[in-house]
């Protein structure tokens, strides 16, 4: 695995990137996307993969925004004692 990484770095500097390598990366990306992972990944085009990737990243951003808002409300109401207890919990 590490050899693949070093190879991709070398080739990117010499600009000889093959279609195969791109297909490799695209399939790795496909594995992460929940939409595509559940269906057959053979038929998914690169364009579709990119589209799903953009959608997924936007969804994750939105989730993080919602969680940030939720956390900001919770932080306002919780007191420092609870925060200390939580900290201890996480340090175990």
């Amino acid at each position: 695995m590490s050899s693949r990484r070093s190879r991709s770095r070398q080739t990117s500097s010499s600009r000889n990137i093959t279609d195969d390598q791109i297909h490799d990366l695209v399939s790795k990306l496909q594995q992460l996307l929940p939409e595509i992972r559940n269906r057959s990944s053979d038929k998914v085009s690169a364009s579709r993969t990119l589209q799903e990737t953009c959608n997924y990243i936007r969804n994750l951003h939105r989730e993080v925004d919602d969680l940030s808002e939720r956390l900001s409300e919770l932080l306002a109401t919780t007191d420092t004692a609870q925060a200390a207890i939580i900290r201890n919990l996480l340090m175990q």
Binding site: M1, S2, S8, S12, R15, I17, T18, D19, Q21, I22, H23, L25, V26, K28, L29, L32, L33, A46, S47, L50, Q51, T53, C54, Y56, I57, R58, L60, H61, E63, V64, D65, L67, S68, E69, R70, L71, S72, E73, L74, L75, A76, T78, T80, A81, Q82, A83, I85, I86, R87, N88, L89, L90, M91
Partner: protein, 195 residues
Amino acid sequence: MDSTHSNTFQESNHKKRRKIGDLTTDQNSLNLMPWRSESDQNTYSKKLIEALRRINSPEATTTTTKPRVAGQVRETADRVLASTAKGRTRWSRAILGKWKKLRRHHMKVKKAKAGSGLNRAGIEKERLRRLPAVQKKTRVLGRLVPGCRKVPLPNLLEEATDYISALEMQVRAMTALADLLAGGTSAGIAGQVLS
């Protein structure tokens, strides 16, 4: 016959040992999915809590409005996420750089348009990249991943892969934290500590 039996026996043992190794110290699996390990998530959660407590100081909360605090939480979460990445990736360095610039200048850095960034002279055999649909989506993706507007396609795909895993971990950690803060009364949390 004996040798084959012993070989298969050894092989099954070897597989068992390897599985246990995978859970703890397998470098390859950690490299492939760096954001999936529990230790990474714990590191992130701890740093996040410490950073959030600093925001939550009494002077700050009385003067700032709610949406601003939420924005601060988001920025903090992103910054802590980027620092947990330890500078391995382009997007993490971009987030950290953006945050430092915002602190100093309080201005958004406008990035130059990436239209001229793609050097087409060097790319001759990559038909995939020439498809207009792919190029359009590549540009959109480059805008979504921080610091990756001018990045060529294969690097962009690598960054996106890592970024997605990191975002998923961020969501998991923040969800756990929010549940912990919301669901636990002090008695409940004390009960968990003692158990």
